[in-house]
Symmetry: D3
Subunit: 63 residues, 6 copies
């Protein structure tokens, strides 16, 4: 029943998300064991205008 959540900037293709789910699931099993059938992955895309670090929005840094 492990749950893996990913927050990342938008822009990945469906193929990249497909690969991401596969990679994270297989990587979890290699490192921590368990049954891949029970592993859930949830991807959340966060806009650069909603993500800050060092006190600044990522959308401002990108400029």
């Amino acid at each position: 029943m492990p749950m893996i959540r990913v927050e990342m900037f938008p822009g990945r293709t469906p193929d990249q998300k497909r690969e991401l789910v596969r990679e994270l699931t297989e990587g979890f099993v290699r490192a921590a064991g368990g049954n891949p059938q029970g592993i859930h992955v949830v991807i959340t895309e966060v806009d650069p205008g909603d993500w800050g670090s060092g006190g600044k929005l990522a959308s401002d840094k990108a400029t």
Copy 2:
């Protein structure tokens, strides 16, 4: 001050969300006590292309 969060696939109507907030709030009080006024519910819809299990995207399984 309990917080309840729900992640689910899109597609529920406003009426279903209204019922969901009511059911989860009342169910919490029945099981764990407390004041319903202080209970918050946040619903997040997750697209099948952003949710994987068993190493596969839900959007691929739906096909």
Copy 3:
């Protein structure tokens, strides 16, 4: 595959948590449909010293 997360103060018994999982799962199905087997519930206990509202810690209000 719905996921329900609950954050609440500590102090509930195992029986209350058991009831809580049952109530939230059944309430979800009544309101939003779906298969109860696929519904996950994760409970997180938050100490009053780690929860604030209105700018004050809950542990201070309790005093």
Copy 4:
């Protein structure tokens, strides 16, 4: 490496989000110390139709 997450109703301007990231980052450092460069802030907007309290949707209360 602190992470700060904010869930709020939609409607804030980019300038308000910019200020929010700055305020939360500086406030964290004043209260808890650390290097502002390592502080991340993620903003999530939650629609009033997806947020309930007291058993009712915020979108219904606003009416």
Copy 5:
């Protein structure tokens, strides 16, 4: 009803957490408006053995 969540390493005193709740609440209101009474803050302490960046555990970097 804004919710602010903070994940940080353990080690802050109750006084620092009290200040943190106050700073984040006041900072939110200055930047984004709203009523401080409705703002919730949840603090979660994450052990350096449970936090990684750049592919390494923070507990290994600290050594």
Copy 6:
């Protein structure tokens, strides 16, 4: 700045967590690109008495 969060049952050793951080970080980069230095991983252990599925606590199923 991707963030990866893992919720899993307790019981993994520090070595397994070290491997988990490495695997998830490398798997993310292979699938979605980006700089591994900016990837954060947070591990949260959830007790079987705080995790339910199908309306039942995991701690009851284990019995």
